[in-house]
């Protein structure tokens, strides 16, 4: 449909006839304001506009029409008897798309229409693409937000000690390629991991979930640094493509005050601020996820640490953050900041200030991450399990069962699973299950439930014993039993099982009868354990027993 706007009826008539020959349905208007009304009513595909008309002229009408048509492209062609450049320029400025000088031939009109239709089709095509793009961008944005929510729940919500650590995390995209994890070991020691995935955004952060899972669950079970790193490395190597990996810095602060254990794979130097100055912890290992196994030289290192020292870990995004002149922060404010850092004050506030001043009026290119850890008693968790036996070069785990949970004897396979020892100990698993089961049963029945074993002297007593056991368990026992398993690799490997109960103890001084000569129906459990183990020792009035098993 075409709209013809002209105050001369002859002109309208001639043009309408031409347009009808071209297959157009024609609507006519005599001046600008009528054109606006007709436009609203009939929504034409193309408009032919006279310039000079009484009332609203063509230029003004065109401005209104262009506003009315909004994002739709409705070409307006001026029909003008004016030939001076200025008038033609004004037509285009008012929003006109083309002009035809009167008088014009049918063929010229026809070719102008074809050209306009071409522009209009292109315009519509682009508009449709834009709408689709806007829709896709919106979907993408929503997915990013959703993913961000899931990600922060799975990764960040499980972190500990956040209020005592100075944390700076600034993602370049919604999804963060930098990763900060913190978790307590069973004895309350603190472990922190700062990671930096290659690249940015979703693809960079996708590996964060398995890393966070392994880090949190293994740390809570007391798994040693190198084993956690091995596991994370294995997982990343499996899930990430060849060109993707994670640089990482992992530190463990022992609650007992021993050496700091640190591991740096491809991250900038960690900085220890102590009374005498700054000590650097340089990268000594390959980033995680590159090789299937970590090599021996990649083992965590140690450094003495004192209360009051501070540790700063950073990602390279911080050092590479550019100012308006393209100068990296590492070459600008950073060196002076470190030179003036003393351990009696936090570096984070001045760091933020200096970084913000540096990055003013620039777009952030890379994720920026930093964490400052002051070595104070506040950073440690509560040692709800007491001291864990030291396990130099080994692995350890602990489980604490209380009250209602006491009835469920823990299994060795279950405890060894997270340590990754199940295969290594395969042949010994049966014997170890027995040792654990017997010691645990003893602690439960005699320590917590206070059942006397002589009850089992007669067949009746034997069943009475178990009936009583059931009823005492059903009544809701009160107390706790803690199981510690420590493995030291050999050869031969040694497993130390320590069981501690909260009961009153018993007279363990009486030597047990050897299994071979015993004919009594009770007291076999411990004897059996003694046969299997290298040593079995009771202490603390019988509330604690330690059995040492050698894998020979």
């Amino acid at each position: 449909m075409a709209l013809v706007v002209d105050d001369e009826s002859t002109n309208r008539l001639v043009l309408a006839a031409m347009l009808k020959r071209e297959g157009f349905h024609v609507v006519e208007a005599r001046n600008g304001s009528e054109a606006l009304t007709r436009f609203e009513a009939s929504r034409p595909d193309i408009i032919f506009m006279d310039v000079m008309m009484p009332g609203m002229d063509g230029l003004e009408a065109t401005q209104h029409l262009k506003t009315l048509s909004g994002n739709d492209f409705v070409p307006i062609i001026f029909l003008t008897a004016l030939h001076d450049d200025q008038s033609l320029v004004r037509c285009i400025e008012a929003g006109g798309d083309d002009f035809l000088s009167k008088p014009f031939s049918f063929n010229v009109l026809k070719s102008r229409i074809v050209a306009m239709e071409r522009v209009r089709d292109l315009h519509r095509h682009i508009a449709a693409k834009n709408r689709m793009l806007a829709r896709l961008l919106e979907i993408d944005r929503q997915e990013q937000v959703l993913a961000e929510r899931i990600f922060s729940h799975a990764v960040n919500d499980r972190n500990v000690a956040g209020e005592n650590l100075g944390i700076l995390m600034r993602p370049a995209a919604t999804f963060n390629g930098d990763l900060l994890l913190s978790q307590y070991l069973p004895d309350g020691s603190l472990r922190v991991l700062l990671g930096d995935f290659t690249g940015h955004g979703l693809s960079a952060a996708i590996g964060a979930l398995p890393v966070a899972d392994a880090f949190h669950s293994m740390t809570r079970k007391g798994v040693a640094d190198e084993v956690v790193l091995e596991e994370i490395n294995r997982k990343l190597h499996r899930v990430l493509p060849t060109d993707r990996f994670m640089c990482a810095f992992m530190v463990t602060f022992p609650v007992s005050g021993g050496d700091l254990r640190w591991w740096n794979g491809g991250m900038p130097d960690g900085l220890v601020c102590h009374a005498e100055g700054i000590h650097r912890l340089a990268s000594h290992a390959l980033p995680l996820g590159i090789l299937p196994e970590l090599s021996h030289s990649d083992a965590p290192r140690r450094r003495p640490l004192r209360m009051g020292d501070r540790l700063l870990l950073i990602t390279d995004g911080l050092l590479e953050a550019q100012d308006a002149e393209g100068r990296a922060f590492g070459q600008a404010g950073w060196p002076e900041l470190i030179a003036n850092w003393t351990c009696d004050r936090s570096l984070l506030a001045p760091l933020l200030q200096s970084l913000d001043a540096h990055c003013a009026d620039t777009d952030q290119q890379d994720d920026i991450g930093a964490v400052e850890i002051p070595v104070t008693v506040d950073i440690f968790g509560c040692a709800n399990l007491g001291a864990v036996p030291s396990s130099q070069g080994g692995v350890a785990c602990s489980v604490l069962l209380r009250d209602g949970r006491l009835a469920r004897t823990p299994s060795m396979a279950h405890l060894l699973g997270p340590l990754g020892l199940q295969e290594e100990l395969g042949a010994h698993l049966g014997a170890l299950e027995t040792v654990l089961h017997e010691l645990y049963t003893n602690a439960l029945e005699h320590g917590i439930l206070r059942l006397p074993s002589w009850m089992k002297a007669t067949p009746d007593g034997f069943s009475a014993y178990y009936v009583e056991r059931e009823s005492r368990l059903a009544a809701g026992p009160v107390g706790s039993i803690r199981v510690d398993i420590a493995y030291e690799s050999g050869p031969p490997g040694t497993i130390r099982i320590t069981i501690t109960d909260s009961g009153q103890g018993f007279d363990f001084g009486k030597p047990p009868e050897p299994l071979s000569v015993s004919v009594k129906p009770w007291g076999r459990g411990i004897a059996l354990v003694r046969e299997l183990c290298e040593s079995v020792n009771y202490c603390n009035l019988g509330t604690q027993v330690e059995a040492v098993y050698r894998c020979v």
Binding site: D196, T198, G199, T242, D243, R244, F245, C247, G265, G266, M267, P268, A282, S283, H284, A285, L286, P287, I290, S295, D316
Partner: protein, 101 residues
Amino acid sequence: MSISRQVDSGNALVIINIEGRFDFSEHRPFRDAYRDIAPGSVRFLVDLSRADYLDSSALGMLLLLREHAGTDAGRVTIRGCTEDVLRILRIANFDRLFILE
């Protein structure tokens, strides 16, 4: 284009020259520089003497090349690193995966 290559078929060696910033934008040209060569058939020499910057995605690209070349030691040599580039390679401990000349 800042990546070019020379094939020294006599020595079964492919030399890849990188000029300017070696970052993600070079992903395609870098890959094109070796992917028509049969995997594991030749040694590679990556010449970084005219590269002034290298980012972590470039480290990733080097790992892809290493995989293509065959991961046994000595198949990929990196030559002519500037101080800055060398520092990044050292921090990542890539001297264990590549020969740094």
